[in-house]
Amino acid sequence: MTSGSQSSGSESPKKSSSNSTLLRVARYTVVRLFTLFVTIVIGIYLTIIIANMGGYVDQIMRSDIRENVTAQVMNNPANKGMTTEVKKKLAEDMIKLQEKRMGLDTPVAIRNFAYLTNALQMKLGRAINMSSDSGSRQVNLIILERLPATLLLMGSSNLILFFASLYLALSLSRKYGSFWDKLVIALSPTSAAPPWFYGIFFILIFAAIFKVLPFGGMVSTPPPDNKIEYTISLLQHLILPASSLIISSIFISIYNWRTFFLIYSSEDYVEMAKAKGLLPRDIEQRYILQPTLPTIITSFALMLIGLWTGAIITETVFLWPGLGRTSFQAIGLYDTPVIVGTTIIYAYLLAITVFLLDFVYALVDPRVKVGG
């Protein structure tokens, strides 16, 4: 559920002579920020190395350039009068220029470090092969252009999923053992299948057989001019991918939350409160929801940053023009800057969230002490 990414806070502070809370918090903050930063640096460097395949991508790009440029020079009618020797020389020069433009003239190791420092400063640079719909090669623009689509799809489905499963789980934990409870338990193994799998079935049923919803894409072509029609078309296209994302994990999500709440509602203090005759609503709010709040917040925060990565396969299956599909395309085109760009933003978001969560815990849970 929470995939356990809570910070462990294992940087055990040395027994400080001063008991000042401020000092403790300050020291903790600095140490934590430093370790998180080192983690990001290593993570990004690994991604860069993998995305460059230790230099093999260079070879692919070099031979690609050679082929294209040579074909261009040889077939250009303007070069007709030249001898083969001159043409070859011209091609060589153009290849050199092209390689320099792509930065292929510096060794991989140095380039990797240059990438790393740029990436850490969020200078994402220019894409090698990809371009945004408006024709720009800036990685920032490519990502920004795809972000709304991903946020729309992932945001709508994950928010519905999160709150629906939380609400349903709470009501099931009240009526535990009932028919609906048993039904959810029986259905929870269906969450073993990933969203795209349900997506295929949904396309089969609603697009292919009943022809009521579109196969894929984000709006119908050509996009309607009218704003209302545009929204309707957008919603129509959103239904299938969003519901496959929801269906694929709603039952396991309800089941997990329900079990989690049940464990908390069998604690002694809850029994005590029941014995005292407190209202069920009060018990729920004070004795069940409050102690579970840190877990709920963690889960919510991780869900929020999870939105960023998009759903690679669901987006690919539904031809949804989001970030997930973009990063898949980027990998196919060996476009290292775009790959690294999406990774670095995710890494930063994750690190910031993990960092902030420590403080949020301290706010909502009196048992937790920052750096303690």
């Binding site: 991604t47 929870s188 269906t190 073993a192 295929i200 690679i312 999406t342 990774t343």
Partner: protein, 447 residues
Amino acid sequence: MNSIKNAFREMMRYPSAVLGVIVILLLVVLAAYAMITIPYSEAIRLWRGGEDVWYQNPRFAPPAWTNLFTAKKLPESFAVKSANSGMTKVVTPGTKGTSSIEITYNFDFSYDEFPQELLLYFTSTFKQKQPFVSIYLMTPDQRKVRISDFGVSPKQTFRFSQDEKLKRRLGGGEIIPALFAKPDSDPLIPLKGKYQLILNVVTFEESADLDAEFVFHGLVYGLAGTDMSRRDLMLPLLWGAPIALAFGLLASLGTSVLTMIIAAAGAWYAGWVDELIQRITEVNIILPFLNILIMVGTFYSRSIWLILGVTILLSIFTGQIKSYRAIFMQVKESTYIEAARAYGASSQRIVFLYLIPRMIPLLIPGLVSSIPAFVFLEATLAVLGLGDPVLPTWGKIINDAWSNGALYKGMYYWILEPAVLLMFTGLGFAMLGFALDRIFNPRLRGM
């Protein structure tokens, strides 16, 4: 021993666990059947063979049993050879070393659609003068349609639909419908009844001979249907089972056992070992799992073994290792460990014989429930076009179907068959895993 028996008895109380076990057993039987009846090398040959292996099958044909559920019956495919007396072959010697061979084949055609294609594959032996063949088709209403006649080279293929002269004789339309249609029907309606294919062959040499294979490409084929390159889908459906099971089991076993050992070692040795494991885990959580797998598949190799290795490597250092570590930290303080330390047990002994066995009840449910995720992971990569290029898998079928627009063109069988098998596998392991989790996890008992 007793505890295993108890656990088993407890398991039998959960209907979902029983169902899960049955599904898993069926899959194991299917996998064993596939591996025994079609050896690996044969499977690869049938899957990657080329047109020589698949020529007998029609393209894009749904399975034959779909006819049971439709009002319109689609023609079934078949192939017969004169060499092994699938067709009647009569040789009558003539004068001067010539002989005439008559090859006939009767077949029933009582379907509501026209077949895809009819083919004749000739193999002939001669020294100098080619045998001469005349092909006729006898229709149920006793018309004898002349198809074609020509001299046959040692190996020759004749496609009915490609013969231009025949096309002109039949009025210029599509050949196959014209051959099988009721005369003067518009739109063309198939004429049902007994058809006869007649090959009249004349050979001009003493030892000359000719054999023919008649291949009838219908619109349905076999138990599973075919794909875009005429491959019988039965093969990947059967062979997908052992591959999916092997990938799922190995990945999940490798991941959970290694996670456990590393977590135990970290908890026991503490200090820099523990610190290192924690840091690696934090780095790994930042790395986008699927992106890295896709990169490895695109850049390095699509071999299923490499993907398996990378999957295990990336799945070890996740949140799981942290929760195992927390439990080991508790176990480490228990008295039996203290006793072991007192009698001088080595660290290795404590980790492998005292710490890890304590956790096996926790390991088993997690192991079983993570199998579906890995089975689907393999299918996921295949759907993205990153499946192992050699192996026939369920994900590969879905990928082929997807890229050929199976859903747009109504070829639902193509996607549904592997999808149903995947779903079964996923559900089987997930149901068993859930039940095991409730049995072995005392906090969940009775919930």
